[in-house]
């Protein structure tokens, strides 16, 4: 990486970087990663005071490509929200999005080489917790010589990282945006993750996770896991509106119905297959477990109010009305705990029929809310608001 590009204020769009940290990272499980690599993208310009940086935390299946077009011309997963004049305005902010460890898009994870064995980590990659992702992001922050994030922003698992930042590194962020997240997963959520993991492990090509040694991947299992997950991220009404009972192939009026394929079936199969081509099964297992293990208040006697007691940043909490994986009630619990802990917090409950996926999709109120919150944040930065 060119150090100069972060120092002299070059304006950059979707610049991809990578860095290998030679300092050991001690994980929550007690194991140590002696070195680890992070790939990350940056958008916008780091100012002279180095205080306009925003960290974007990706969720389960996310990666470093949050905005702009990559070399294949594909827009990032949050391109609607990050860019010049967009809610996360890269004319004002320097936006950093890493691919987190344990994932599979270039950062150290199950599909990278373990230097001790010269083979892929595979199923031997250490179990991770949200705190490990955040601690690795602290390495990145120090590497970029950023003392304090202007904001840490994330949806779903990303929101959990934002909360963890606020709880564990309170003096290193000015604001946290926690979108469609929860203090901990419900039994139903854990159950959905377990079904997904079993789908992967049941694939004959899984080989107890050592599939890369066999030169195969458990695509069927991973596709099935994704289909289940994807379905739970949508709502009944959004599916009904988009697909209804539309038929893609065959004829429902014909006597022979075996040839009938519904649009929703085709869509879901396509989503599953596409995902299985791009994601690593061990990463999926690892990161769904990370979600299951997350419990912000666990080490605070289950008191979320106590967990937040040392936080000093301003919070924006956002939920979506039709999200049943991370319901508005989950976000309300976060909000209520922050109010009781006497923290600055605003809460938005956005009307949407898009389910959990709404956090990634265009929505006027959501955009306006983010924009307004970051406006106040940047005012704060400039000392205009006390």
């Amino acid at each position: 990486m060119n150090e100069k590009s972060f120092n002299d204020g070059l304006h950059a769009d979707a610049l991809t970087h990578e860095v290998t940290f030679e300092d050991p990272l001690t994980l929550a499980c007690g194991l140590i990663l002696p070195t680890h690599k992070l790939v990350f993208e940056t958008y916008g310009t780091l100012n002279k005071g180095r205080n306009n940086a925003i960290l974007i935390c990706h969720a389960l299946s996310g990666n470093q490509h949050a905005a702009g077009l990559n070399t294949e011309g594909r827009p990032g997963w949050w391109d609607h929200y990050i860019g010049p004049d967009k809610p996360i305005d890269t004319n004002k902010f320097f936006v950093v999005c890493p691919n987190n460890i344990g994932s599979c898009f270039g950062s150290t994870g199950p599909n990278t080489i373990n230097e001790d064995t010269d083979k892929s980590w595979g199923p031997d990659f250490p179990p991770l917790e949200v705190s490990d992702w955040v601690n690795s992001q602290v390495f990145l922050m120090e590497y970029l010589k950023i003392k304090c994030w202007s904001a840490v922003i994330g949806g779903s698992l990303g929101g959990m990282q934002a909360m963890h930042w606020a709880v564990s590194h309170s003096n290193r962020l000015k604001s946290a945006v926690v979108i469609a997240a929860s203090l901990k997963l419900s039994a139903q959520n854990i159950a959905f993750n377990e079904v997904a993991r079993r789908a992967i492990m049941s694939d004959p090509d899984f080989h107890d996770g050592a599939y890369l040694d066999q030169d195969v991947t458990p695509k069927q299992g991973l596709a099935l896991a994704r289909m289940i997950g994807h379905l739970t991220y949508l709502s009944d009404s959004a599916l009904g509106r988009k697909f209804g009972r539309l038929v893609r192939n065959g004829d429902l009026d014909a006597a022979e119905k075996a040839l009938v394929e519904f649009e929703i079936s085709s869509y879901l199969n396509y989503q599953g297959d596409k995902f299985a081509d791009n994601f690593d099964a061990n990463s999926y297992i690892l990161i769904t477990k990370m979600l299951d293990y997350f419990d912000l208040a666990q080490s605070f006697n289950d008191e979320a109010v106590d967990a937040f007691s040392k936080s000093s940043c301003n919070f924006l909490i956002v939920s979506f009305s039709s999200d049943w994986r991370f319901s508005p009630q989950c976000s309300k619990e976060i909000t209520d705990a922050l109010i009781e802990a006497n923290k600055n917090v605003s809460y938005l409950q956005i009307d949407s029929d898009q389910g959990h996926d709404a956090f990634l999709l265009p929505n006027r109120r959501y955009e306006d809310g983010l924009r307004a919150f970051l406006f106040a944040t940047s005012n704060h930065l400039n000392g205009a608001v006390k």
């Binding site: 301003n314 924006l316 309300k332 909000t335 209520d336 109010i339 009781e340 006497n342 600055n344 917090v345 605003s346 809460y347 938005l348 409950q349 109120r365 306006d368 809310g369 307004a372 919150f373 406006f375 106040a376 005012n379 704060h380 608001v385 006390k386």
Partner: protein, 195 residues
């Protein structure tokens, strides 16, 4: 003295303040700037909510008519509600909730006993449409009409102590008429309540 100044007299500096139906956060911002209170507003109007956020005011999207059970007993020093009581489905229940959550409640509402509204009904035979109550009867958020006397009767019934009371009129206040005969001349009533 204007209404904001009257309200701020009753609020301790650096205390915890909850504003029910905070609108665009203007009043809350004034009180935060003047008194360094830790303030939170509850609001349901999307545009107002956004205006609060832009100002850096804490605003929680929550419908007062769906209850306030998420807020703990005694978790605020003051619960404030301005010009909103008349639009709630169950004003008496919200009053009780305000005094469960807060040590004190401060409340303002339009006095329907004001002579203009009385005169409108008396002489026109039609429901009044005034500057303060500017809606037609069939399309108004103001679903309860009451006078300050009605309000005080309710407080007695619900064992709510009135510890402060100020009436503010229009031009009549310069003559002191709103103090002499408040139910006729006060446009806005401001109450400070405790349990």
């Amino acid at each position: 003295m204007n209404i904001t100044a009257l309200i701020s007299n009753w609020i301790e500096s650096k205390s915890r303040l909850l504003d029910l139906g905070c609108g665009d956060g203007s009043l809350l911002k004034t009180l935060i700037d003047q008194l360094q209170v830790r303030g939170y507003g509850l609001e349901i109007d999307p545009v107002s909510i956004n205006n609060c956020i832009r100002k850096g005011i804490n605003v929680i999207e929550q419908d007062l008519n769906s209850g306030l059970t998420n807020l703990n007993d005694g978790s605020f020093d003051t619960v404030l509600m301005t010009q909103t009581l008349q639009s709630l489905r169950y004003p008496h229940l919200v009053l009780d909730e305000m005094l469960r959550i807060g040590d004190q409640a401060i409340i303002t509402f339009p006095n329907f006993g004001h002579w203009r509204t009385r005169a409108s009904l008396l002489f026109n035979g039609r429901m009044p449409v005034t500057k303060q109550l500017s809606y037609q009867w069939y399309d108004t958020p103001n679903i309860h009409f009451f006078t300050y006397k009605d309000f005080e009767t309710l407080c007695v019934e619900r064992k709510i102590k009135i510890v402060g009371r100020v009436f503010v009129g229009g031009y009549s206040s310069t003559l002191g008429m709103d103090r002499v005969w408040p139910n006729l001349f006060a446009q806005t009533a401001i109450y400070r309540l405790r349990k």
